[in-house]
């Protein structure tokens, strides 16, 4: 999957209806777009996509992503707007419907629909999971995208209720206000929410963090750069790992450090925090003690920007840097100037593309869970210091 195969063609204005009339309204809007000839239509729906958010700015952000998501992953979108801070309005859950059409490469009109459910007041928000059930298309997988800025692990029972019929819960740890607290809570929450097929048969569920997905190309580059075949002696003499990140990406950096630690069998011994600037851990490994450092840049894109590895070889200090050479290319910069940079293309990772790709990728990811278990230890050492 590289580019969306469809482009937006037409969209009906959202229309507010009673919850019980959602299906009828979808059918009506389809007929309007079909026109008087009533030509046969293609409704492409790979899944139900239930999205939860609270703030108006989040709603706007999510709505901007939906057309691109539908281009990659046609689905029924059910957007839940839960304004639980509003204690004045206790109106029933209100529904808004709009049908969109996009044009495929073969000039076929492909239709998809969005249902937006508004809930005001905490009591009404709690009723959202019941309202969602009536809007799901049967026999299709259901994905829950937790688009709220509060980590799902700290969101209370609502996330469990919404996830009940979902086979996948997607969240994004970028920009969490309290990264260490969020990481710790999420690492403890994951085993409760994730259910493997072996555990739960038909009620299995996987969980994915978009930040983990953003690290995909780092996780592809680092094994090649550190491989004994390409950099002999590095793993044997490794002494220090420094991960540099832009604002809002400390969780991403922690996830990457956890993954490396997990793969290399490192154990965290102690941690040190310089708030907003640097995190540092001492690590015990089979080959000795190492330092893992996470450094924050005061500005720049919200992602891991550089990974630097230092090691000792034949009594000499050596170093290898991996960094973003351009916004869409990661490079390994060899010490030897005569060598070529080793690069890997990082296809555009907009929020909508990340979500769309994650929706089709429902595999249980044991490496993520193992890395989160290590991240939990990293987070604990930070919280115990602060």
């Amino acid at each position: 999957m590289t580019n969306p195969a469809t482009e937006p063609y037409a969209a009906m204005q959202p229309r507010r209806v009673w919850l019980k009339d959602v299906e009828a309204e979808i059918a009506r809007q389809l007929r309007v777009i079909q026109g008087p000839t009533g030509v046969p239509i293609n409704r492409a729906r790979m899944s139900n996509l239930v999205i939860f958010c609270r703030q108006p700015e989040q709603v706007e952000l999510v709505n901007q992503q939906i057309p691109t998501i539908l281009g990659y992953h046609p689905c029924r979108v059910i957007l839940l707007v839960g304004d639980d801070a509003n204690q004045l309005g206790q109106a029933p859950v209100q529904a808004e419907v709009n049908v969109q059409a996009s044009l495929s490469e073969k000039d076929q009109l492909i239709f998809s629909e969005q249902v937006t459910l508004h809930a005001s007041g905490s009591d009404v928000v709690r009723r959202l999971p019941y309202a969602v059930r009536s809007c799901l298309v049967g026999d299709l997988p259901t994905n829950l995208w937790w688009a709220d800025t509060v980590p799902p692990s700290l969101a209370g029972p609502l996330v469990y209720d919404l996830a009940e019929s979902a086979q996948q819960v997607v969240y994004d740890s970028i920009g969490w206000a309290e990264p260490a607290k969020g990481l710790l809570a999420t690492a403890q929450w994951l085993p409760k929410i994730e259910r493997t097929y072996a555990q739960a048969r038909g009620r299995w569920r996987s969980v994915a963090d978009l930040n983990w997905r953003r690290l995909k190309y780092w996780r592809r580059l680092i094994p090649q750069a550190l491989a004994p075949a390409s950099t002999p002696g590095l793993l044997e003499g490794l002494s220090e790992l420094t991960i540099t990140h832009g604002p809002h990406a400390v969780v991403q950096a922690c996830l990457l450090a956890s993954w490396i630690a997990c793969k290399l069998g490192w154990r965290v011994q102690a941690g040190h925090v310089e708030p907003g600037v640097e995190l540092e851990w001492q690590i015990v490994a089979a080959r000795g003690r190492h330092i893992v450092r996470i450094q924050r840049l005061s500005e720049g894109p919200p992602r891991v920007t550089q990974v630097q590895v230092r090691w000792q070889q034949a009594g000499q200090a050596r170093s290898l840097r991996m960094l973003y050479e351009t916004p869409t290319r990661l490079a390994v910069v060899p010490e030897d100037q005569s060598c070529q940079r080793r690069t890997i293309t990082v296809p555009e990772q907009s929020l909508s593309e990340l979500v769309a790709r994650q929706l089709s990728d429902r595999d249980h990811d044991p490496v993520f869970l193992e890395s989160m278990a290590v991240a939990q230890v990293f987070a604990q050492t930070i919280l115990s210091r602060s």
Partner: protein
């Protein structure tokens, strides 16, 4: 801080025990015949697309080898690659990607027969290992004429360019293109020659059809859905039709009718049986007819396919006459434009090159045949195979026709005979699947009409499907041989078609049925299937 003199771990701890192990590994891709048509149209654009999609290893380079460069060899191959990408790539040539791709693209000029050229190749590869950190791992893509394969692999070995198959640090893999031989004996010779230099685990015999999504989906449809497999046998299936139809002839022409390229040099004397049936169509048949492998391990799947080839009913000379039709296209019309006959294209090709023009060619451009798989599952179910050039449209599919319902109820005295249920897996051009079922037309009267339930890859899943070559190249770099043909399968496929080739050779008939370009083949092919009370599907 570190404890020195620890033993060196050979295995990369990052790539063990996780799905990441299937990620393509650092290597240099060496394309033999990089100046040729396949490299220009398919391979270099495929590698470029993999670069754009971020699927290539970071430690990676491409080295072309062959003759025909002009000026600086590296610049020449880059120009040629850029031209191929601009014409044939599914993704456009973009400057930033091109700069990254082209700086890792090189060319060594040399003859496949010249051992010293392989020494130059080795020196260049060693240099690239240092420059790109590829650690001595190689993928050799032999996009070269079959007659050159033996000398090429021999020289690779002699030049020390073939590593040990058991080396955990670096790998050497070779991709061998079809045709593997032109009959059973020559195929065995090629297989033996390659095996002298490369272990079976290092050898990847490519059939690009197996890299297509629908072909891979065949197994998924069969074995990941509980409703199909119980019906997938002679109790419920009437017959199977596998069609690989091409609009193109052997010569590409400009709008003014001037030849711009030709495959006659390869095709003449080879024909459709060797070119399409022995490999692509037999593989499609294997996937359609095979038993469920008990795991997804490459060899388990390949064993299951071998099970089909072993059960093919051998053809006696008389059965070849009854069950196989060959033909050649004469002039006709495709999309409203006049196109010449195959023989005209042959004459044109050889006269333009000042080479002796062959006698009236008897190379078949069309084959239709009836095949039986004599096992418990398929006993009595005919497989009708058909392929041809200059047919009305490009279409490849596997169609499973289910048996008629009993002649009671709706089928008792039908005013219009009920059409059978047909499941079709389209390989190209629009990859997808359809199921034709009978349905009642709205209205007071019970009128039954066939309707098609369609699943189209593009509209259901979005995105553009990668080219088969992209998937297959990645598989080789990751060391996954599932979609490649094993040696025994190649031999078994040749063993099956040999009686046909021998019968045609013995008959020495100059007569070859003809079909007009732009039609679905000769009358003889219609008679073949109609004699069984069936018809070719309209595509």
């Amino acid at each position: 801080m570190n404890q020195p003199n620890q033993p060196v771990e050979l295995v990369n701890p990052f790539s063990s025990g996780t799905p990441d192990a299937l990620i393509p590994q650092p290597c240099v891709l060496v394309i033999f015949g990089a100046a040729g048509d396949l490299s220009w149209r398919k391979l270099l654009p495929a590698v470029y697309n993999l670069n754009v999609d971020g699927l290539l290893p970071s430690h990676f380079a491409v080295l072309g080898f062959g003759i025909g460069s002009q000026g600086d060899p590296d610049e020449w191959i880059r120009r040629r690659a850029a031209d191929g990408i601009q014409r044939f790539s599914r993704q456009p040539l973009e400057q930033t990607h091109w700069e990254d791709f082209s700086r890792s693209l090189f060319y060594v000029e040399g003859s496949f027969n010249d051992l010293s050229a392989y020494q130059q190749l080795k020196a260049r590869l060693d240099m690239l290992d240092t420059q790109f950190g590829t650690g001595g791992s190689r993928v050799y893509y032999l996009s070269i004429p079959p007659q050159v394969v033996p000398v090429c692999v021999e020289h690779l070995k002699a030049a020390g360019l073939v590593g040990d198959a058991a080396d955990p640090q670096r790998f050497t893999r070779v991709i061998v293109e079809k045709p593997i031989g032109r009959d059973l004996d020559s195929a065995r010779e090629v297989l033996r020659d390659v095996a002298k230099s490369f272990a079976e685990s290092q050898t990847y015999r490519i059939d690009h059809y197996l890299g297509k999504e629908t072909v891979q989906n065949l197994m998924v449809v069969r074995f990941a859905n509980s409703i199909f497999e119980p019906l997938w046998n002679n109790k419920h299936i009437d017959h199977v039709q596998i069609t690989v139809a091409e609009e193109e002839g052997l010569t590409q022409r400009s709008r003014t009718g001037e030849p711009t390229g030709s495959r006659i040099g390869y095709y003449e004397g080879v024909g459709a049986l060797r070119d399409m049936v022995q490999n692509h169509i037999m593989q499609l048949m294997c996937l359609t007819a095979m038993e469920a492998p008990y795991s997804l391990e490459p060899d388990m799947q390949r064993d299951a396919k071998m099970g089909v080839l072993r059960c093919l009913r051998p053809l006696t000379p008389e059965e070849v006459d009854r069950s196989v039709v060959r033909a050649q296209y004469i002039d006709g019309e495709i999309h409203g434009e006049q196109v010449p006959s195959y023989r005209h294209e042959v004459r044109e090709f050889f006269s333009q090159r000042g080479q002796p023009i062959p006698q009236e060619s008897t190379t078949e451009t069309f084959v239709a045949m009836r095949v039986f798989v004599d096992n418990w599952r398929w006993a009595g179910v005919p497989f009708y195979l058909r392929t041809g050039k200059r047919l009305p449209k490009r279409a490849s599919e596997v169609a499973i026709t289910f048996k008629d319902v009993p002649q009671v109820l709706f089928n008792a005295k039908p005013e219009v005979p009920l059409e059978p249920t047909v499941m079709t897996l389209r390989v190209q051009p629009e990859e997808g699947l359809s199921l034709r079922i009978a349905s009642k037309l709205p209205g007071p009267k019970v009128r039954i009409y066939p309707v098609k339930m369609e699943f189209n890859y593009a509209s259901s899943f979005g995105g553009k499907t990668p080219e088969a070559y992209e998937r297959l190249l990645l598989d080789v770099m990751a060391g996954d041989a599932t979609l490649f043909m094993r040696r025994d399968a190649v031999e078994a496929a040749w063993e099956f078609v040999m009686p046909i080739l021998q019968r045609w050779e013995q008959s020495r008939s100059r007569f070859l049925p003809e079909y007009r370009a732009g039609t679905w083949g000769p009358l003889e092919a219609d008679r073949l299937i109609e004699s069984d009370g069936r018809n070719w599907r309209t595509l």
